[in-house]
């Protein structure tokens, strides 16, 4: 079984590619920082609105929004995942791998695990910065690890969409366009940055069906209120469902390419 070792080699390859492109590295590390600072400043007065703190349990808007920023970052990162496979298709590197005995699934897993690793690093930076700015995590280190796990799993599920689109269209532009198109509506129509109490009714209704809301609620619970297992399990259920669909689509498209 070479799946494990091949995945590791490809994981390392993708990380090297990331680290050796200073501009890409800069943006993937600083983008989350910018978002955290920008959004928490922009909406900081939310916390002085009547009822905000009681409804959310947060002591500041920063504490409320950190979970949302974590998810927003994971979502944005994941949706770029497909561009790498398009590049490998265009340069012929994918074909070059396919004429070797390398495990087919390792090609996808290497990519997915390196994406997840990237999201974990970015998330750790966001959490560290939020901590420096005064936010705390009630559930401590164990809770932080669980939060990172949820965020990485969430990212993995959405990487699937991007990879499937990349494999289907073989165009980086399309991957970026669809990614960009999805990010903001899904993000703003969820409880990522705005509590339900401040939403118009229809957006509040939409957010009830938004998978981002479920994930954000779980991460936020771990940060502010404690181990709310019902919420956490619900989040895993929703992400699992999305992952099944998106990774299924990726696998289907990938099989078409490799056969």
């Amino acid at each position: 079984m070479t799946l494990f070792s091949d995945t590791r080699y490809l994981f390392v390859r993708y990380l090297k590619k990331l680290v050796r492109n200073p501009i890409l590295l800069f943006f993937s590390l600083f983008q989350p920082i910018i978002f955290l600072l920008l959004f928490t400043q922009l909406f900081s007065k939310f916390s002085s609105l009547p009822g905000f703190l009681q409804a959310t349990g947060a002591s500041t808007y920063l504490e409320f929004a950190t979970a949302g920023i974590l998810l927003q970052n994971a979502f944005g990162s994941a949706l770029q995942s497909g561009t790498s496979i398009v590049l490998d298709l265009d340069t012929g590197y994918l074909q070059k791998m396919l004429v070797t005995p390398v495990s087919r699934y390792a090609i996808l897993l290497g990519r997915l695990t390196s994406d997840a690793f990237r999201v974990v690093v970015q998330s750790a930076i966001i959490l560290a910065l939020a901590y420096a700015l005064g936010a705390t995590v009630t559930t401590g280190v164990a809770g932080i690890l669980l939060m990172l796990f949820i965020v990485a799993f969430f990212g993995l599920a959405w990487s699937g969409i991007s990879l499937a689109i990349g494999l289907k269209t073989r165009s980086s532009e399309t991957v970026f366009a669809i990614g960009g198109f999805l990010t903001f509506p899904l993000l703003f129509m969820s409880t990522a940055l705005t509590p339900k109490l401040l939403m118009p009714d229809w957006i509040s209704d939409v957010s009830n069906f938004n998978p981002i809301s479920y994930t954000v609620d779980a991460v936020r619970a771990l940060m502010i209120t404690g181990y709310d297992w019902a919420t956490v399990l619900k989040a895993f259920g929703v992400i699992g469902l999305i992952a099944a669909v998106t990774l299924g689509a990726t696998l289907y498209q990938f099989r078409k390419v490799v056969s």
Partner: protein, 332 residues
């Protein structure tokens, strides 16, 4: 010697209806240096993609390196090396890292891989650039690195899809030298495609000429030339359009002429003994008032073989001629 590739009635029809490979059969002996010669779009790359397990054929059967293409593609992948037309090296990795990663794909043990990487970097003369990112390599260096990655696991059978297309004459000569060495010293069987007559003539011991998905001629370069059986005489007329018809009629009556074909110059005539026949042609044309602007003759080349079998000159010919033409230009 036994066959390392056996192909029977191979057909490839793409989903848009294009018949890229049209019922071809051939075999390649172990240790052979075999060439597929043909213009762009003849079906060469499609055939390589099928034989290297990248593309699923429409019908037919093939045995590659002792394994059935349909049943044991995984076994085949362990035994073959492939260099595709697009130079696929990872620009973010160094030359050495590219080789090592490829070795991992081929499941080489680390110690052996380290040694093999050193050897290959030496072979393709990339030792000095080994730890620089491949992104910064020149086109020739990238091709050489790509070739080296295809060799990392010492494949018994090496597929090369137009290995020197787009290279300058020096880089091309270097690649030719490695390939000859590899075939001679290590006994690696090489299956090469090319659109360059010169390349096929220089390297290949067995050739198949392919055009519009069909094999139109096969044999060693010498045999193929012998089949043409005659020297070629290229005739340019001062007024080709007007005199062509009567010129052909005259030529059909000249003794020793075996065949007359239209060509770029105007007419190409095949004849047993060009030196004697030319005098007769010139006299006959003169008496009928047809004015020649130039006459040249040569012993048959692969280009003549292609022309004779397909009625056309090889389409990629301009590409071959331009580099040497440029060199001449510089010398002046």
């Amino acid at each position: 010697m036994s066959d390392i590739i056996t192909v029977n009635n191979l057909v490839m029809v793409y989903s848009d209806g294009t018949k890229a490979v049209d019922d071809i059969s051939f075999n390649v002996k172990e240790g052979e240096f075999f060439g597929f010669l043909g213009p762009n779009g003849a079906g060469k790359s499609t055939t390589i993609k099928i034989l290297t397990t990248l593309l699923r054929k429409t019908s037919g059967s093939a045995i590659v390196a002792g394994h059935d293409l349909d049943k044991e593609p995984k076994e085949i992948r362990k035994l073959i090396g492939v260099q595709s037309q697009d130079t696929a090296v990872d620009g973010d990795l160094t030359g050495r890292e590219n080789l090592i990663l490829q070795g991992h794909f081929q499941q080489l043990p680390s110690a052996e891989l380290k040694q093999r990487t050193k050897e290959l970097l030496k072979l393709v003369e990339l030792e000095d650039a080994a730890d620089k990112r491949a992104r910064n390599y020149s086109g020739g260096m990238k091709k050489r690195l790509d070739l080296a990655t295809a060799l990392v696991h010492r494949p018994r059978l090496l597929f090369l899809d137009e290995p020197t297309t787009g290279l300058d004459p020096q880089s091309r000569a270097a690649i030719w030298a490695y390939l000859e060495k590899l075939n001679k010293d290590e006994g690696t069987t090489i299956f090469l495609t090319t659109q360059y007559m010169e390349e096929a003539d220089r390297l290949c011991r067995q050739l198949s000429i392919i055009d519009y998905g069909k094999i139109v001629a096969s044999g060693s370069p010498v045999e193929l030339k012998r089949q043409v059986g005659a020297d070629s005489i290229k005739l340019s007329l001062e007024n080709c359009a007007k005199d062509k018809r009567s010129a052909k009629e005259i030529l059909s009556r000249v003794e020793g002429v075996s065949r007359v074909l239209d060509s770029e110059e105007c007419l190409t005539v095949y004849a047993k003994n060009a030196g004697l026949v030319i005098a007769d042609i010139v006299r006959a044309f003169d008496s009928r008032g047809i004015r020649l602007s130039s006459v040249s003759f040569s012993s048959p080349t692969l280009d003549d073989i292609f022309l004779q079998h397909t009625g056309r000159r090889i389409r990629g010919e301009d590409l071959v001629k331009s580099p040497s033409a440029l060199l001449v230009g510089r010398r002046r």
